[in-house]
């Protein structure tokens, strides 16, 4: 249950004030007419006396409860004016109050009560007509039934409209909430993925650094050349790791800082990635060709991750090497190739390797193909083709 907002509170004060003023006006108008037309035009009607006034008030005052208790109010008013008319008093302007209440029952009462209310009104009119008072003849009866029904119908129309509006508002709010939750979940999943990547990266590189540092210190005097190489390896490894962390944490910061607009890297970020890799000590040639505008964001991200994973593997496994990255875009697919000439072939038959499995999955999602295997002259080659043409 939502707290009532200030606006809601103001609106309810507003409506009570309105109802109060309306009641006041209608009462003055109605009861006032009992004094003004006194004695009535028709001499067969009785003069206004205390009872008549009381009944007059009883007809008008229930109007104040038009919103909160429309049916009881209408019933009270209808009974009062029926008694008044049947007792051969003049009704003058008093029926206006009941008319307002007929509208109120149509507008504010739930369906069943509204129908009952209409019945009450018709019953009252017919009863008055049957009592043979000169105040209401047959024509008058028909006219009044039509009039009161119209007021009731008007109330129903207004009610229907406001109900639809309320329902639509609730639906829209629900939808917005569901979207927010889905977005939040996607962000959380991405952050978890980033955290896991970060964890893997750090764990692996710290192992390398620990081993190399331990080795270097151990053989510093006996094999200074090995010690020197150890220091160089540590330098390269820590640099690469820091860059990887910067990349991952850069993504994290974007999400926190600004509206998350999927900070996923794409083809534009590949040159930047390659620069980082070069700075980490691996020479890389990069060639991107073809129109890239048609490539969907998701495919761009997959290409980026593929290149990233391949280069990372080369750094980790291929010893001294150089690499070449070739990306070609056509209107219907993207071709990605990463080759190196190092001495590593950490994967035998092209299936294993955690990184490769991830690459295959990324490519398979788009219905693409991935080949990975050692090259004839040494080194390793990863080649993927990701289609994205119009689904026909």
């Amino acid at each position: 249950m939502e707290r009532r907002t200030l606006v809601d509170r103001l609106k309810s004060i507003d409506s009570r004030v309105f109802d109060g003023l309306l009641t006041l006006g209608v009462t003055l108008f109605g009861v006032g007419s009992q004094f003004v037309d006194n004695p009535a035009n028709d001499p067969s009607l009785k003069e206004t006396d205390a009872l008549a006034l009381l009944l007059g008030l009883a007809t008008c005052l229930p109007l104040y409860l038009r919103r909160r208790q429309p049916l009881p109010a209408l019933t009270a008013s209808a009974v009062a004016i029926t008694v008044l008319a049947v007792s051969e008093y003049a009704t003058n302007n008093l029926p206006n109050a009941t008319l307002f209440l007929a509208y109120a029952v149509g507008a504010f009462a739930p369906r069943r009560q509204a129908i009952v209310g209409l019945g009450v009104v018709v019953l009252a009119i017919v009863t008055i007509w049957l009592s043979d008072t000169p105040d209401l003849d047959t024509n008058g009866m028909i006219l009044n039934i039509a009039l009161f029904s119209a007021a009731w119908l008007a109330g129903q129309v207004v009610r229907a409209r406001s109900l639809t509006a309320a329902a639509q508002l609730a639906e829209a709010e629900e939808r917005a909430e569901a979207e927010n939750q889905a977005a939040a979940r996607a962000v959380a999943e991405e952050r978890l993925r980033i955290a896991q990547e970060l964890h893997d990266v750090v764990a692996h590189s710290m192992s390398v650094i620990a081993v190399q540092a331990g080795m270097g210190a151990h053989v510093l005097d006996s094999q200074p050349e090995e010690a020197r190489r150890a220091l160089e390896n540590i330098s390269q490894t820590s640099r690469t790791t820091l860059n990887e962390m910067r990349r991952l944490l850069g993504v994290l910061r974007d999400e926190e800082g600004e509206r998350s607009h999927a900070p996923a890297p794409g083809l534009d970020e590949v040159p930047h990635l390659v620069d980082d890799v070069r700075r980490a000590g691996l020479p890389v040639e990069l060639d991107i060709a073809g129109p890239s505008e048609a490539v969907p964001h998701g495919v761009e991200l997959s290409v980026y991750r593929l290149v990233q994973e391949s280069l990372t593997n080369i750094i980790k496994h291929a010893g001294t090497a150089s690499a070449t990255v070739t990306i070609s875009c056509t209107p219907v697919d993207v071709d990605v190739e990463v080759v190196d000439d190092g001495r590593g072939a950490a994967v035998k038959n092209g299936h294993g390797g955690h990184g490769l499995v991830g690459m295959r999955e990324r490519v398979a999602v788009w219905g693409g193909t991935l080949d990975a295997g050692p090259r004839v002259g040494g080194g390793f080659r990863i080649h993927a083709r990701i289609p994205f043409g119009d689904a026909s």
């Binding site: 764990a203 692996h204 710290m206 192992s207 390398v208 620990a210 081993v211 190399q212 331990g214 080795m215 210190a217 151990h218 053989v219 006996s222 094999q223 090995e226 150890a230 390896n233 490894t237 980790k316 496994h317 291929a318 010893g319 590593g344 072939a345 950490a346 994967v347 035998k348 294993g352 390797g353 955690h354 490769l356």
Partner: protein, 221 residues
């Protein structure tokens, strides 16, 4: 001269260990492997005394490679020393059950690494009390009160059961001797009998059996 094979999927880790092991006058690196398959093939070809086996490798992981090496009569004599980044690791525990003689953290200091290689090469089990015991405590199955698992322990004498409990706590023979007020020779005999009666490869397997049959219970200091 003790021969060693080094298996790790990261080049720099592999070569780092190779330099360390190669720097010792009594140790010799006879091969390097980049994944589990290569490791098994290399062990079959060179029959080294010790294999330093990284647990997480592509293609075939260190756990499976250990199983294969220990299951094959031709290579079962090779001691396996598992390398890991994290000490509480279920894979490592499984490797111990599969026959590894012990495990080492990858950031172990070079001198400690060399000492460990020598210990397992000599046929001893590497059982650093604190860490290995925690590992076994963490992953040993809850003792199953059905007959099958209790059977092996049922045939032990009371004294032998006591000794088994202390072995599970990580005590050395000398410590067991002083704890139970017996001579070190007697303690050693009890341990040997335990190895025979329980058909255990080494001390490590004794500890595992102790936890899995409920002789030792996790959490009790």
């Amino acid at each position: 001269m003790t021969s060693v094979v080094i298996a790790d999927d990261q080049v720099l880790v592999r070569s780092g260990f190779a330099v360390i092991v190669g720097s010792a006058p009594d140790l010799e690196v006879v091969g390097e492997a980049g994944d589990g398959h290569e490791a098994v093939e290399l062990v079959r070809a060179t029959h080294p005394d010790v294999v330093l086996m990284d647990i997480r490798m592509p293609e075939l992981d260190g756990l499976e490679a250990t199983r294969q090496i220990k299951a094959d009569a031709a290579t079962a004599g090779t001691r396996v020393l598992v390398l890991t980044t994290f000490d509480l690791d279920e894979y490592v525990y499984d490797a111990l059950r599969a026959g590894a003689s012990g495990f080492l953290l990858k950031d172990t200091l070079p001198d400690d690494l060399l000492a460990a290689v020598r210990v397992v090469a000599a046929g001893e089990a590497l059982l650093s009390p604190r860490i290995t015991r925690r590992l076994i405590e963490e992953f040993a199955q809850r003792p199953d009160p059905t007959a099958a698992s209790l059977k092996p322990v049922a045939g032990l004498t009371e004294r032998e059961a006591e000794v088994l409990g202390l072995v599970a706590k990580g005590l050395s023979n000398a410590e067991i001797a002083s704890e139970l007020v017996m001579s070190p020779a007697t303690a050693k005999t009890h341990v040997s009998r335990l190895l025979t009666k329980l058909d255990a490869r080494d001390r490590t397997e004794l500890v595992i059996i102790a936890y899995e049959t409920g002789v030792a219970v996790a959490g009790r200091a």
